[in-house]
Amino acid sequence: MTTMIAVDGVGKTFVLHNQSGIRLNVLAGASLSVEAGEAVVLSGPSGAGKSTLLRILYGNYRPTSGQVLVRHEGHLVDLVGAAPRAVLEIRRRTLGWVSQFLRVIPRISALDLVRDPLLARGIGESEATRRARDMLARMNLPESLWTLPPQTFSGGEQQRVNIARSLVDPAPVLLLDEPTASLDAANRDVVVELVEAARARGSAIVGIFHDEAVRSRVATRMVDVTSFSPRIGSAP
């Protein structure tokens, strides 16, 4: 078994300096290790720190303590304290983030958006185009929209473009932040199939899903983050 991503003794305390220095202890001693081909779904009540943990895994939040290890090009690398360019490179090659929100880049067509990650990984132009078209078709995005920039699309259409972009060439580690929220049943099924396919090809997956049915279909393991909660939720 190969550990793809792991946290060890991770704690996170937010200090709100502009609100009289309130300290929010969200995580303490969080430890988790995810193998290739595993899909871990984080569970726990709202506010338990699922989202915080996922963002720490992506290097978006900086933990107050502990290590965040990612297997990048065969080596385990600690994201904590890594140089920004190293984190960016790890995200480019190893860490994929899939959410329901598309950061719209003006004037770039949906097709180019989906093709982009393939080209960036050195896949040839025609092959990349073919795979991007397949993906958009699979996400049930009307072909008439493919050549248009998504900023004029509906929220649901943008979400599907984003998922197509994120899953067209799944990264070795996929972090899923409720990608199926607000999708209709048919599209939700497609996303679940894609995630399942990525896992089968060896991606390690960590995700948050509110939908109980999706959760149980995707997960090979559930981890309840309440076990990572500090004993005292917050202290002044």
Partner: protein
């Protein structure tokens, strides 16, 4: 965890990425008793886009002027590496060599296009000047390059012989960018590149800058007080206050998980991205 841990510094970042392009060490600039910027140190790597944010008077423009060779620091060093050509401190060079470096190795996009353009010279002449400075003496070739760059910054090539005074603010700014990029610098400094432009014009310019920086593999240092601009264009951020860097890191880290009270104050006043 018992798995072997490799140093994050070993993470490959692609060709040409094994040495910093720019190295600032303890850069300090006083204006008499007043602090412009103090003790700023960082490395900038090829292809990286660094944002410097902070409110007016925080020292970000002073720092930019020092880095760009326009303003001599009171103390500290600014090193620059162009391939195998290493300059340990650009201010240790005589002014002539520093100016030559400023013309070939990096470019400056000023907030006010009037500071970066020759208003009495045509658009083509403005773009051509950097090539002429480089030693190009073939009119036809200069002309071809000027047309190409006007197109790349989305200015109608038919306007090649018009003067910048006949251009809108957004066009002037795009012309300034063409003038800077035509000589293929490794690094571009931008001081509030979208300042003074309408919001719709800003969006177009940002989009253009983003594409150019990505396509040309440019390193850039962008000074802005606009966190949305920083989020869209930069990989890394330095937050400055009262002349000092109070926080730095990946752009999304700094904006989404700000640690310093001042950064929290800055980000709290901006709508979530």
């Amino acid at each position: 965890m018992s798995a072997p841990l490799d140093s994050a510094a070993k993470v490959a970042t692609g060709a040409d990425g094994d040495a910093p392009l720019l190295t600032a060490t303890g850069v300090t600039r006083f204006y008499g008793e007043r602090i412009g910027c103090e003790d700023v140190s960082f490395d900038l790597w090829p292809g990286e886009v660094l944002g410097i944010v902070g409110e007016s008077g925080s020292g970000k423009s002073t720092l930019l002027r020092c880095l760009a060779g326009l303003d001599r620091p009171t103390s500290g060093r600014i090193g620059f590496r162009d391939g195998s050509r290493v300059t340990p401190d650009i201010f240790a060079l005589d002014e002539q060599r520093r100016r030559a470096l400023m013309r070939t190795a990096w470019g400056i996009v000023h907030q006010n296009p009037r500071d970066g353009l020759r208003m009495g010279v045509s658009a083509g002449g403005n773009i051509g000047e950097r090539l002429i400075d480089r030693g190009d003496r073939h009119y036809g070739n200069i002309r071809v390059a000027a047309v190409d760059w006007l197109q790349r910054v989305e200015i109608d090539p038919a306007r090649i012989d018009d003067r910048p005074t006949q251009f809108s603010g957004g066009m002037q700014q795009r012309l300034q960018i063409a003038r800077v990029l035509v000589s293929e610098p490794k690094l571009v400094y931008m001081d509030e590149p979208t300042g003074g432009l309408d919001v719709s014009v800003q969006a177009r310019l940002l989009d253009l800058l983003r594409a150019l920086v990505r396509d040309l593999g440019l390193a850039a240092i962008i000074v802005t007080h606009d966190l949305a601009v920083a989020r869209l264009l930069t990989d890394r951020l330095m937050v400055m206050r009262r002349g000092r860097v109070v926080e730095e890191g990946l752009t999304d880290q700094v904006l989404d998980d700000p640690q310093h009270p001042y950064t929290q104050l800055l980000t709290a006043s901006v709508l979530a991205a």
